[in-house]
Symmetry: C2
Subunit: 148 residues, 2 copies
């Protein structure tokens, strides 16, 4: 396993509207992708912002059941949430971290980019909630269609 | 002001030795710069790790007076600390954020990279402690020597 590029930095927000205004009007973000909602019990609004060499991921919890809510309660003004590194093969990476004794929180599953991701427990990641992502075009890309 | 590249992500650690072992042996970091100490009342050990498109900055407070200690007390297992964006001119950037009503915490001053930096209060940065850095070769590079 080789340390991958930082794909994005996850940031919790209480208000997507306020945060987008901040990143657009104060920080000068020029490439802001359209926000979208991820459904289910972890329901959240998501928006990716380009920084040139990486992305910010704004996350606004939409349901009281969302695990993000606990985070919001602890850090009401919003706060960094996770770091995401790229890996070449999501299943190999999962096996690798399990072999190191790291607890997989959930996944592999399709994440907000539409590619395969999994999360690892912060207590096994030197204190940082950590996501791993196989970029588009990888061996497990769910958008590859019928290609064997 | 245009959103800059993410220069590094600051991560607090209680033990540089344990964190370096984690990033080397578990995460597979191949380019780890030599750790060094920054003196003064904010004394800390610092180590930069390359991720390919950005850097991680490990920060271990060395003195009880260090403002990092409050952070450690709150998050004993270590935690994300700040995001650093690049700006083309440190003084222009400071003036820009002041004009937006953002509180400068300290700086401009020489930071851990040996270039000019300043920090902005997280309450004015959508909840994230944020650093701005003028990369080497910029108009205020303290290593430029006698060049006018």
């Amino acid at each position: 396993m080789k340390l991958g590029r930082i794909n994005h930095i996850g940031l919790i927000t209480e208000s997507m509207e306020k945060s987008l205004a901040f990143y657009r009007d104060v920080m000068g973000a020029e490439v802001i992708h359209p926000p979208f909602e991820m459904g289910g019990p972890d329901g959240a609004a998501i928006c990716f912002i380009e920084t040139g060499n990486s992305q910010l991921e704004l996350i606004q919890p939409l349901t009281p059941a969302s695990p993000f809510h606990q985070f919001i309660a602890q850090f009401p003004t919003g706060k960094q949430h996770h770091i995401c590194y790229e890996v070449p093969d999501i299943h190999e990476a999962k096996g690798y971290f399990e072999s190191k004794g790291c607890r997989i929180l959930f996944g592999p599953m399709i994440g907000a980019h539409g590619t395969m991701i999994f999360f690892v427990h912060p207590d096994d990641m030197d204190g940082v909630l950590t996501e791993f992502l196989e970029p588009h075009g990888g061996p497990n890309d769910p958008n590859k269609g019928h290609a064997a």
